[in-house]
């Protein structure tokens, strides 16, 4: 039998969601942007993630890892966009920006080659900045398993010749 959550009025629910949205949206956008490297695509991905969160709000609003849930959906939406078609990156204007774009493209390519669970762990921990315990909660695995995914994922990324630790994202 399905469990029912405590009833809240539509106004109260929307106000609650609005508060969370204002607080969390910039973080979700940043995660999407780091993956997609395109502002419009990142905005779309973050918005889609929050729309899905609103659709599921009665179920997820009281979860202890609610914010991490939203970040995970954001990461998954962005990764799905990448899986379908890597977004065109904006043309770089300076040498520094060119380096940044090249590093981002290399990171996206290397991330896409990782197993999905390693991708999620790296996105949530290194790009969204969530602690390992929270990553473990949202992925439904033990913290030690998250450590393993992170370790293996980072080993794979470090083995990618196109990624130079001295510049670009701090993935090491």
């Amino acid at each position: 039998m399905r469990t029912r959550t405590r009833h809240r009025g539509a106004g109260e629910e929307e106000a609650e969601f609005t508060t969370v949205f204002r607080e969390l949206y910039p973080h979700a956008y940043r995660v999407a942007y780091r993956l997609l490297g395109d502002r419009a695509a990142a905005e779309d991905a973050a918005s889609e993630a929050f729309a899905r969160a609103y659709a599921e709000w009665p179920r997820i609003r009281d979860l202890p890892y609610r914010n991490a849930w939203v970040m995970k959906v954001t990461g998954n939406v962005a990764l799905n966009v990448l899986a379908r078609k890597p977004p065109p990156l904006a043309p770089a204007r300076t040498v520094e920006e060119e380096d940044l774009v090249a590093t981002r493209m290399a990171l996206i390519s290397a991330l896409s080659a990782l197993p999905r669970r390693q991708q999620e762990a790296i996105v949530l921990h290194h790009l969204a900045g969530l602690p390992e315990v929270e990553v473990a909660a949202v992925l439904g695995v033990a913290p030690n398993t998250v450590k393993t995914h992170l370790k293996r994922g980072m080993q794979s990324l470090r083995g990618n010749a196109d990624l130079e630790p001295s510049r670009g994202p701090r993935v090491a």
Binding site: M1, R2, F17, Y29, R34, R39, A46, A51, Y54, R116
Partner: protein, 419 residues
């Protein structure tokens, strides 16, 4: 952190809020409509069945133009194992006793009887379950594991998997085995049912029914496989062959009549598993790269939805619904992480529950409990996985051996009645 000035959102959150809320409401509305459509379809099914009682019946499943509502008058079909019927019509199958004539009791194998361990309160812990026994000679038999620990074989040995499933009431088993096509004589998969006492074997698909609808399947394709009971125990869902032989998901009454397809050959769905509320059927679809996607189908054929999970290694991925119908369970194939994978069907979120021992072929057995074969042998290995059947909490806690390992026999849990 990444020193990128572009990481600030181009628009403030407030400007996007209305857009997000509108999209979120749209998602809610679509999901609500899908639920309503299911109810409407179920009501229509009730009307159709009522019409059937007045002398109507369905057309052939293999007719592409086949309507899904009652349209052709036909005499009622009678079978001696259907309440209220008086004659036998199921076809005979070599080596398989049928419902024709006196019921033949299948031999049971008392040597396989064993006793489960008791729990801390001294109670028997074995659920009423159906398991497949694979022997050293490579044959399979279906056996019933009774709560008192008795394990009784109820089907003859076959060379292929029987994929038995226990009806919700726990009195009948549906399974697959090869039988000759009534026109070509070529063996193909068909669905059978048998009582848990081994009596009342009958062929559900592929047989000729005298005086009734001619339910002759196309000789193309593999036939009908992977049965799954509806929660009320009145219907079966299974993979059957479409007009050109490719698999479609069929639903019929438990006696094989009133069959309809809820998917098309182009969809490519197979191996259905009916949800506990009867509204949804989980199914697999093979992709071009040899992996499988998991889908949720509306049981009334109103639509389908892909579960947002990565493509999976098809080996050993057999889905089992939790009792509340909110999650699907299957075994983790990756040998580096042994345990149960549990998918939240609403979000597609997956979590791995580590089990105290290596788990294969898990099935949900009542609220919060999973039965699995304890074995560490890789799926690709063609050797017997000799190990005990273990009942464990769905959080991996309190493992209890309900059927000890027996030399020369592999036990594959198939379904439980205690849901």
């Amino acid at each position: 952190m990444w020193p990128d000035p572009l990481e600030a959102p181009p628009r403030p959150a407030d400007e996007l809020l209305d857009e997000v809320l509108r999209r979120g409401r749209e998602l809610r509305r679509v999901r609500r409509q899908a639920r309503q459509l299911t109810w409407i379809a179920r009501a229509a099914a009730v009307v159709a069945v009522t019409g059937l009682a007045a002398g109507l019946t369905y057309g052939s499943t293999d007719d592409p133009g086949r309507p899904r509502t009652a349209e052709v008058a036909a005499p009622a079909v009678e079978r001696d194992d259907v309440p209220g019927s008086s004659s036998t019509t199921a076809p005979e199958v070599p080596g398989v006793p049928t419902t024709r004539g006196p019921v033949e009791e299948l031999p049971t194998d008392s040597s396989t009887t064993t006793a489960p361990e008791n729990d801390s309160a001294g109670r028997r812990v074995a659920p009423l379950a159906v398991v497949e026994q694979r022997s050293a000679d490579g044959t399979y038999r279906t056996a019933v594991l009774h709560p008192d620990g008795a394990l009784v074989a109820v089907t003859p040995a076959t060379e292929d998997r029987q994929m038995p499933v226990l009806s919700p009431r726990g009195d009948t088993i549906a399974f697959q085995r090869r039988a000759p096509h009534p026109l070509t004589g070529q063996p193909r998969w068909e669905i059978f049912t048998v009582g848990i006492d081994g009596r009342g074997l009958r062929q559900v698909t592929g047989g000729l029914v005298e005086g009734g609808p001619q339910l002759i399947d196309t000789p193309l394709g593999a036939g009908s496989r992977w049965p799954s009971w509806s929660p009320d125990g009145r219907r079966l869902a299974y993979s059957c062959s479409g007009a050109t032989g490719k698999p479609v998901i069929c639903i019929s009454r438990a006696d094989g009549l009133l069959r309809s397809a809820i998917t098309t050959e182009a969809d490519g769905f197979y191996q259905p598993t009916w949800s506990p509320d009867g509204e949804t059927i989980a199914a697999k679809r093979e992709t071009d790269d040899g992996k499988v996607e998991l889908w949720l189908l509306d049981a009334a054929g109103a639509g389908e939805l892909a579960l947002p999970v990565p493509r999976l290694d098809p080996r050993g991925v057999r889905l089992s619904w939790t009792v509340d119908g909110r999650e699907l369970v299957y075994a983790q194939v990756d040998t580096s992480e042994r345990g149960l994978v549990i998918i939240d069907v609403a979000s597609g979120q997956r979590r791995l529950v580590l089990t105290p021992t290596p788990a294969r072929f898990p099935i949900v057995c009542g609220p919060g409990q999973v039965l699995y074969l304890q074995s560490d042998i890789p799926l690709e290995a063609d050797e017997l996985r000799i190990g005990p059947l273990v009942l464990v909490g769905s959080d991996g806690s309190a493992p209890t051996t309900v059927l000890p390992a027996r030399p020369g026999t592999e036990y594959l849990p198939s379904s439980c009645a205690s849901r």
